[in-house]
């Protein structure tokens, strides 16, 4: 496994990108990555505004808390953001782009990068979550596309994080998304 993995999460204020990143952080920490730091964009978080969060994962303690400029993985919680911001900025050659989108894999071109697409919004509703709750579903897509952490571990962390707030439905959303994620070459 790599020593450091930089993952940038793009979403909208209120969408839960920070919680999603936190869940992955907890899973990676339990896998022995001593250094994890989840650094939200430092803004006046307003509902609906584009936000991003930097998740740095390392075998050793993280000292640099500046935002990720050269991500290994970019996760997008809302495909419309792709039109509003330079989401793939700095994404490494051979890096991975995970998108919650109803569109087909073919509609995304990211030269030299791997793309994974999943309609998390629809699957989350099917799992019994209110419309628009995508932050647990996207973790399933992330798990499938990246292979960094097992689905069982991630759903375990999801259930713990969402204790008292529909833990089963949130875990199911992640499982459904895992099964339905289409990963490109």
């Amino acid at each position: 496994m790599k020593d450091t993995i930089d993952i940038r999460w793009h979403g909208r204020g209120g969408q839960g990108a920070i919680t999603a990143a936190k869940i992955v952080a907890k899973a990676m920490f339990s896998l022995g990555y001593e250094g994890v730091a989840m650094i939200p964009t430092f803004g006046t978080e307003r509902r609906g505004a584009p936000v991003f969060s930097s998740l740095k994962i390392s075998r050793r303690k993280i000292y640099d808390l500046s935002p990720i400029e050269r991500p290994d993985i970019v996760v997008v919680l809302d495909h419309v953001l792709m039109e509003e911001a330079d989401i793939t900025s700095g994404l490494k050659e051979g890096g991975l782009l995970v998108i919650n989108s109803p569109c087909s894999l073919e509609s995304y071109h990211a030269d030299g990068r791997k793309v994974a697409v999943c309609n998390v919004t629809a699957l989350a509703t099917r799992a019994g979550l209110p419309a628009g709750v995508v932050n647990t579903g996207i973790i399933g897509a992330f798990a499938r596309a990246s292979g960094l952490a097992g689905l069982d571990l991630l759903t375990e962390v999801i259930e713990e994080e969402f204790k008292g707030r529909k833990p089963e439905a949130n875990a199911l959303a992640a499982r459904l998304a895992y099964e339905h994620t289409i990963v490109g070459g």
Partner: protein, 403 residues
């Protein structure tokens, strides 16, 4: 049992406050307040924490409530940021003069005008002359540990302590940290038992008006005047440098971590150039130092934890063998230079073994109002200073300025 969790810096602070069994929390809950006090109100509401939580209408009142609570012998806490801290200013002086062992977290942010909510250090640095102890911490472990140590220190010297940590960079960032067990904290920090506490059965007027000279009290003893009281505050603050080292040693014995009370240093053993900073910036500078070392530049970084009282002798003797000291600051004494830079120059002049080969001291101002700090910019600045040496540095230099 202690446990590792991944949470925000604000949660780390709140859990520290809980472990210290704080009895009174007073806070103003609106901007520039941070979720730290929200977390505390949740802990009190859910009865995980036995404390009085007193929401107030201003930061000035928040500290006034803490002053009153502490005067009755309660362990009290508040937190604020930026303009909220400045609004407390009068009470900040008062708490120190009244010798009350309060602890306050200052979540560092820039101050208006113009409005900013982002990180820099102008808020707490502007309070350095109030007579409080100021600790600057660099990560979440140091936040939770810092709060615990702060109470022990405050109650040992009867001087209030600010635990300062970077807004957003630490307050909202999630990182792993170890939460110590309640038993361990209880053994390190016994209940607060003041020598004197206000008691309704024995009414008293505290911090009454003093005259320019000493005076004889009702029992015929010569009581302090204003100047004696203020001189004792200074004496005890200076003594706090030693006391804090003992507190740190005790902390290490109990919890098995820490150990660097006054400042921490990284790759400084043979360093010819030492970067100095407060807070999380000093951790960023570790990566900068690694890069410089790879390029053959013998650099190190010093992070000052105890800023007031200023451990001038210890800092000067550590820095004086270097060729150059490069001070990176997120605050400015407008019209002169960074306050830390001035303090370091004064320390070197006073305590260095020889004045003949004092290291040069450069001062960079950066990150004001949350301006992004790139590692590459820090590398460039360090490289430029190492190359220029004593020669060409007049006044402060700005990093990331787009004028």
């Amino acid at each position: 049992m202690s446990s590792h969790i991944i949470e925000s810096g604000n949660t780390a602070a709140a859990l520290g406050v809980k472990l210290c069994r704080v009895q009174v929390i007073a806070a103003y809950p609106i901007t520039p307040q941070t979720p730290l006090t929200e977390k505390l109100s949740e802990l009190v509401d859910s009865q995980e924490m036995e404390a009085q939580y007193i929401p107030v209408e201003s930061e000035h009142s928040a500290l006034a409530v803490c002053i009153a609570a502490s005067s009755t012998g309660a362990r009290a806490f508040t937190a604020t940021s930026a303009n909220g801290l400045l609004y407390m200013h009068e009470q900040i002086h008062w708490a120190a003069g009244a010798r009350l062992p309060l602890v306050m977290c200052v979540v560092n942010r820039g101050v208006g005008a113009p409005w900013t909510i982002w990180n820099d250090h102008q808020d707490s640095i502007s309070q350095r002359d109030t007579g409080w102890i100021q600790l600057y911490v660099n990560d979440h472990q140091q936040i939770i540990d810092g709060v615990i140590k702060a109470y022990r220190l405050a109650e040992s010297v009867m001087i209030p302590v600010m635990v300062c940590y970077d807004g957003y960079l630490l307050s909202h960032t999630h990182m792993p940290f170890e939460v110590p067990s309640q038993e361990a904290v209880d053994s390190f920090l016994p209940p607060y038992r003041p020598d004197y506490a206000l008691d309704p059965k024995r009414p008293a007027n505290l911090n009454t008006v003093t005259l320019p000279d000493t005076r004889v009290d009702t029992e015929g003893r010569t009581a302090h005047g204003y100047m004696e009281i203020r001189s004792l505050l200074h004496e005890d603050l200076q003594r706090a440098v030693e006391v804090y080292q003992d507190v740190e040693a005790g902390f290490r014995d109990t919890f098995g971590r820490g150990g660097e009370a006054l400042f921490e240093h990284y790759r400084c053993e043979d360093a010819e150039y030492v970067a100095v900073a407060l807070g999380s910036l000093s951790h960023n500078l570790r990566d900068v130092v690694d890069t410089l070392r790879e390029a053959g530049v013998p650099a190190g970084v010093m992070s000052i934890h105890l800023y007031r009282p200023f451990p001038a002798r210890q800092i000067a003797s550590f820095l004086s063998p270097a060729k150059g000291v490069i001070v990176f600051e997120k605050a400015l004494s407008y019209g002169y230079e960074g306050a830390l830079c001035s303090d370091i120059k004064a320390a070197l002049l006073t305590h260095a073994r020889s004045r003949a080969d004092l290291p040069f001291v450069h001062n960079y101002i950066l990150g004001l109002g949350g301006r992004e700090i790139k590692t590459s910019q820090l590398v460039e600045a360090m490289t430029a200073s190492c190359k220029a040496g004593a020669a060409s540095h007049d006044g402060v230099r700005w990093i990331g300025l787009k004028l």
